[in-house]
């Protein structure tokens, strides 16, 4: 069981900054995120795109913002449960919570801060009628263990970086790799496209373009796929695995069943006070919450995280006196023993 003071669900910019504000109050944080890396949308959808409305950064790439936040919170030693989705929440008699992920990892904390953005990222599943029958029986939307494909025949569908990168990677493992895409052009990084071209010329990847997988063949497990090429030509391809890689889309998911007030796919919070939800001890901050006048901006998430941490502190330490200190005055004392503080004034006498 992982124990912490504030359990943050979602490791996007708002969740990450929460660690800093909590750290100033000597509260420890642990983050859960369904993605394998921190940063949320900033790292998953648009790491190379600029953001222009982060105060004091006239321009910053979303990926760089994530890196800067990680650097800023490093001294507060946040814990991470990555690649797992928060699934259930249980309130104990002492008003603390246990949150369990889809892989069974349990987290115990007096405060839960949901910073889940638009939800957890789920793979986009192509609308092939019988695809659900073959999930985990030869159809995989995410590659977890590449060894599964050793000496197997694999067909990948998609035109972005993940389709290209996995096609390249699997040429060393699978016996046959085919790549199906609706265009001859690919959206991925140029060097990946070049590499696939090289592997195609060497006969290691079979390119089937412009084409689309329209059906899955097999009885209980995948034995092949049907493909339509050039809009008319029908092809049957014998394969053991079909890997559709069409990116991820966020879904609110299991959080919707936690008994929280939900409106327009977002969690209602008390914005007059502390961004607490209808369940005391559970807060919602950043894009995942809603209130009159809500703006889904990273900078608003930072503000909400700051206010929320003050309220969390009072909930954890109801009888302790506390006043907010400026970091310039109080410095930043990390949990790792590091200390940052403003340099003292140099005094020199004039003779």
């Amino acid at each position: 069981m992982i124990k912490t003071d504030i359990l943050i669900i979602g490791a996007g910019p708002t969740g990450l900054f929460t660690v800093f504000e909590a750290g100033l109050l000597k509260l420890k944080c642990h983050l859960i995120d369904a993605l394998p890396q921190p940063g949320g949308q900033c790292s998953e959808i648009y790491p190379k795109k600029p953001i222009y409305d982060i105060p004091a950064y006239p321009e910053i790439l979303a990926g760089d913002l994530t890196d800067k936040l990680l650097e800023q919170i490093k001294a507060f030693e946040p814990g991470f449960t990555l690649g797992e989705r928060a699934e259930t929440i249980e309130k104990l008699e002492d008003d603390t919570f246990i949150v369990t992920t889809n892989k069974g990892t349990k987290h115990h904390a007096p405060i839960v801060a949901i910073a889940g953005g638009l939800g957890s990222f789920e793979p986009r599943k192509p609308p092939i009628p019988n695809i659900a029958d073959f999930e985990d029986a030869g159809v995989e939307y995410i590659i977890r263990d590449p060894e599964v494909y050793r000496d197997k025949k694999v067909v990948i569908a998609g035109g972005g970086d993940s389709a290209l990168d996995w096609a390249i990677f699997l040429t060393d493992i699978a016996s046959e790799v085919s790549l199906v895409h609706r265009r001859n052009e690919f959206r991925g990084a140029l060097d990946s496209v070049d590499k696939v071209q090289e592997l195609k010329d060497a006969g290691k990847i079979t390119m089937i373009t412009p084409a689309e997988v329209t059906g899955i063949l097999g009885d209980e497990k995948v034995t092949g796929v049907s493909i339509v090429k050039n809009g008319e030509e029908k092809i049957k391809l014998e394969v053991d695995h079909f890997i559709p890689l069409f990116g991820l889309s966020p879904k609110l998911g299991p959080i919707a069943n936690w008994g929280l007030d939900i409106e327009k796919n977002a969690i209602k919070v008390n914005n007059a006070l502390d961004y607490q939800t209808n369940i005391p001890g559970i807060y919602a901050i950043g894009d995942v919450n809603t209130y009159p006048g809500k703006l889904k901006l990273i900078l608003c998430g930072f503000h909400e995280a700051t206010i929320m941490c003050q309220s969390a502190y009072k909930r954890i330490h109801p009888n302790k006196k506390y006043v907010m200190k400026y970091t310039t005055v109080g410095g930043v004392e990390g949990f790792d023993g590091s200390k940052k503080e403003a340099p003292k004034a140099v005094v020199k006498k004039i003779e």
Binding site: I45, R182, N265
Partner: protein
């Protein structure tokens, strides 16, 4: 004239005739959101960067639209339920030339 009229068929098949301003630098996706014609969180997920296709729509009138840029073209190449008249709403800016435009929102995916 600063407003144009657009007919939008939502994902449930209901037709809405709405007014959209030409002077607010808005696009079709933002107009749909401003009238709440699709559930929040199911449209404009990437914010309008042509990176998610959640604002895919079918153009059913014969208006001449601005040409697709490569971002939109390649995103549509990976989207689902794509037809010949598919466009990404976030890449179509509201201009007076679009007065009377008719569109249908593509299914959520």
């Amino acid at each position: 004239m600063s407003d144009i009229s657009i007919k939008i068929t939502d994902r449930n098949g209901a037709l809405h005739e709405i007014l959209a301003p030409t002077d607010m630098a808005m696009n079709i996706m933002e107009v749909v959101r401003s009238y709440e014609l699709a559930e929040e969180g199911t449209i404009g997920v990437c914010g309008g960067m042509a990176m998610c296709a959640s604002c895919q729509c079918y153009i059913t009138s014969d208006h001449e639209l601005p040409e697709m840029n490569p971002d939109e073209d390649l995103m549509l190449a990976e989207a689902f339920y794509v037809q010949n008249n598919s466009r990404l709403g976030c890449q179509i800016h509201i201009t007076s030339a679009l007065d009377g435009l008719e569109i249908e929102l593509a299914p959520e995916s």
